[in-house]
């Protein structure tokens, strides 16, 4: 039966339903609802649940639980390991963010220059850098672990030996282990900064550079007085995002060092994971998660405040 030959009553019903759908489609709620529902179910509910859990003594393996007020927070904050890990986290995040932003900027400028000069190498550079970004963190950890094996069979140590150096304890020396972790994270995260900053650079009007050149500005001056002010909002967004990503990194560290030796590379995100899924203390793991959330929010507020002031917004 073709659609033209439907009985009139059916036809009317279909038209009524479709008409209602059309009217609904034209209301703002129809467009907001899917996103709102998604946020509610997958973002807000877990967040509220995590906050609720942080006030309980919930365990992964015990059916019951009770509310214990701030006890989970007190347990976490009174642990000396927590403060050691906080210091490690601070170092890891600061160093990673600075390096990712610096290398991201250098690469973005190089690619921008390459594109302007129509150099083919800019495409291959983008592909190479992006490949680091698309690899899962756990794989990156394993890759770096293989590269940094502390015998002459490790890729990096083999090269060092060939150059006349000694084998370096990349992962078993506490300082070197942290440095290796920062390096691996920088290698992974630089691509994101590069993409963001490159997108920012593309928006800078060429006539500003031309005017600066006419005024006799050198390359560094053009960067300082033209490029940076123009891409400041992008730098801000990048800074916020890479700080949050880095603060929440645990998968790569888990496969690279497991947080060791000792607590040398144990960041808060890894501590939270181990607390919840290794020691089954969901309450304390949730407390760490909430503390990390507060740090994330605080940093975002600081950045926003700083940049809003700068921008005079």
């Amino acid at each position: 039966m073709s659609v033209e030959r439907l009985p009139e009553s059916v036809h009317d019903t279909i038209n009524t339903v479709l008409g209602s759908f059309d009217r609904f489609q034209n209301t703002p709620i129809a467009w907001i609802a899917p996103a709102a529902l998604f946020l509610l179910v997958f973002r807000l509910y877990p967040l509220v649940e995590a906050i609720r859990m942080s006030f309980t003594n919930m365990s992964l393996v015990e059916p019951g639980y009770r509310y214990v007020g701030l006890q989970s927070y007190l347990d976490v904050l009174s642990s000396p390991s927590f403060w050691t890990m906080s210091k490690v986290t601070l170092l890891f995040v600061c160093a990673s963010v600075v390096l990712q932003l610096t290398f991201g900027m250098v690469l973005a400028l190089a690619i921008d220059h390459g594109v302007k000069e129509k150099l083919y190498v800019s495409v291959s550079t983008r592909v190479a850098v992006l490949s680091a970004w698309v690899i899962p963190g756990i794989v990156i950890g394993i890759l770096w672990k293989i590269m940094l094996i502390e015998t002459n069979y490790g890729v990096v140590n083999y090269i060092l030996l060939q150059l006349g150096f000694d084998v370096v304890a990349f992962l078993s020396d506490p300082q070197m282990a942290l440095l290796s972790t920062i390096t691996a994270n920088t290698w992974r995260g630089t691509a994101f900064s590069m993409i963001m900053l490159y997108a920012g650079l593309k928006q800078v009007p060429m006539h500003l550079y031309d005017a600066a050149k006419v005024d006799g500005a050198g390359a560094l001056q053009r960067f300082r007085y033209v490029t940076l002010p123009q891409i400041k909002p992008v730098v801000f967004i990048t800074l916020v995002l890479i700080t949050i990503y880095t603060l929440n990194t645990f998968d790569m560290i888990m496969s690279l060092t497991g947080g060791g030796p000792g607590h040398a590379t144990e960041v808060l995100a890894l501590f939270m994971y181990l607390e919840g899924f290794d020691r089954f203390h969901l309450g304390q793991a949730a407390a760490v998660a909430v503390l990390m959330l507060l740090v994330n929010v605080l940093m975002t507020v600081i950045y926003m405040h700083f940049f809003i002031e700068e921008e005079g917004m």
Partner: protein
């Protein structure tokens, strides 16, 4: 349909409407299809003929009135590819069970991850929804005491089982599970080097180990001794033997940590001072702080980077597979783990059990019969031989040729006499985690043994108290 056939536009559906209807019909068809797929999977998920007694995920007749559920890891299954010999043994056992239980069937429910399996099992057991039976790590058994049903009626000759087995398995006179296979830790050493530097006898004490290790390190351009020192369970479990051998206990009968008791604290400190000595003398490279894989120890051994290492019994088989000639792997021998004094001994033992959770008597009996298959001497011999495991019954080492004629197996048999299992109490997870951290700090010089031990004890007690 041609445009010339169109009548009154009000009677026609627009193209947009027709497309919408088409989309809706398509979506319905897709959902229907998915539902159909679900029904198909749910209706016959056997992966084979319903008449077959052993299919991919069912044992016994598909229409059997009594249906048991069995949780297991894919590697403990008759469908696994890695070890066809072992798969055959599992299939043989399944067939034997199905033949004797024509009114029952076992639904095999594969778990993908060991750690998740434990957590999931604890959760479902706590809620009263445990499977009829499950593969249970021997170390977990005490955690499931409340839920496990006795399997005593399939245990024959109780004196034939190793003491470490009965210590964990027997509770109030009842066997909680069938411990079907075990393993142990041992000192692996290069016989040719020990011939040269220690008159052919492997070191029995820490002092001897350090002495021989120092000589080898100086003269052979290799590490004297290596062990697991990274952040993972083996760093605790392998080295716990040195603590246990001194008479140390991690927890008391009630599961309370007792590391701060004088004897235990001393034993712990001695072990950590030994770690420090291995590094300070250069016998062990500091890179052991990042060893989190037995494979790295084997690799170091086969690459000529170490003369001795603390490894697991299964490694002799993997070394055999990884070298070209028998001469090569036979250079490696196994011996008792060196201890503080020559007269003491211990080795950590693990392995798997089959635990029965079904409370319904009919199901419990049928599940226990399956578990009992692994308890029989001949079956255990066949199963352990195929899997490269160690038996938990002494007589298997004596009466099954594969074990009685192999010098390595005979050495493991002796080591198992002093076997010891980890305490299956929740605080062990914290003890192990703290041990790993403390070991890492001592090995890398971040803390003295005394300080590391003090911190470890304080954290463990705080965790227990908290």
């Amino acid at each position: 349909m041609t445009t010339g056939d169109r009548g009154d536009p009000n009677d026609r559906l627009t193209r947009r409407t027709a497309l919408r209807l088409g989309s809706a019909a398509g979506a319905s068809a897709l959902l229907g299809g998915l539902a159909g797929c679900t029904r198909t999977l749910g209706g016959d998920a056997t992966g084979g003929s319903s008449r077959s007694l052993v299919t991919e995920d069912r044992v016994g007749a598909s229409d059997a009135p009594t249906v048991l559920t069995h949780w297991l890891l894919p590697e403990a299954s008759h469908t696994q590819d890695e070890n066809p010999q072992l798969a055959k043994v599992y299939e043989k056992f399944f067939r034997a069970w199905a033949k004797n239980h024509s009114n029952a069937a076992i639904e095999l429910e594969y778990q993908t991850n060991l750690e998740q399996m434990k957590t999931k099992l604890l959760q479902v057991a706590a809620k009263g929804n445990a499977p009829s039976m499950s593969q249970v790590d021997s170390f977990w058994v005490p955690s499931f005491t409340r839920h496990l049903q006795p399997v005593t009626d399939v245990i024959e000759d109780t004196d034939d089982w190793y003491p470490f087995v009965t210590d964990v398995m027997v509770k109030d006179g009842e066997w909680q599970a069938v411990w079907k296979n075990t393993d142990c830790r041992a000192l692996y050493y290069r016989q040719d080097l020990i011939d040269t530097y220690n008159d052919g006898t492997p070191p029995k004490t820490w002092d001897e180990l350090i002495q021989v290790g120092t000589d080898i390190t100086k003269n052979e351009d290799m590490a004297g001794y290596m062990y697991n020192g990274g952040k993972w369970e083996a760093t605790t479990f392998d080295n716990l033997a040195m603590f246990w051998a001194q008479g140390g206990d991690l927890v008391n009968d009630r599961g309370k940590p007792v590391l701060d008791e004088k004897g235990n604290k001393e034993a712990l400190l001695n072990v950590f001072e030994f770690f420090e000595r291995t590094i300070e003398t250069g016998v062990t490279p500091q890179r052991v702080a990042n060893i989190t894989d037995y494979g790295l120890l084997r690799q170091a051994a086969l690459n000529g980077e170490t003369a001795m290492f603390l490894g697991g019994n299964w490694q002799i088989a993997t070394m055999k597979q990884n070298v070209d000639s028998e001469k090569e792997w036979r250079k490696w021998k196994v011996a008792k783990i060196p201890q503080m004094k020559p007269s003491i001994a211990a080795t950590g033992t693990g392995g798997w059990t089959v635990g029965v959770f079904a409370k319904d008597e009919k199901k419990r009996k049928a599940a226990t019969d399956y578990a009992g298959l692994f308890a029989k001497k001949e079956n255990m011999g066949e199963f352990c031989k195929a899997g490269g495991y160690l038996p938990t019954r002494k007589s298997v080492f004596e009466e099954v040729a594969y074990f009685s004629e192999d010098p390595y197996m005979q050495e493991f048999k002796r080591l198992l006499e002093n076997g010891r299992a980890r305490p299956g109490v929740p605080i062990y997870l914290t003890i192990s985690s703290e041990w790993q951290t403390a070991a890492g700090k001592v090995i890398t010089g971040q803390a003295t043994p005394k300080r590391a031990v003090e911190t470890m004890i304080r954290n463990v007690n705080a965790e227990y108290g908290g």
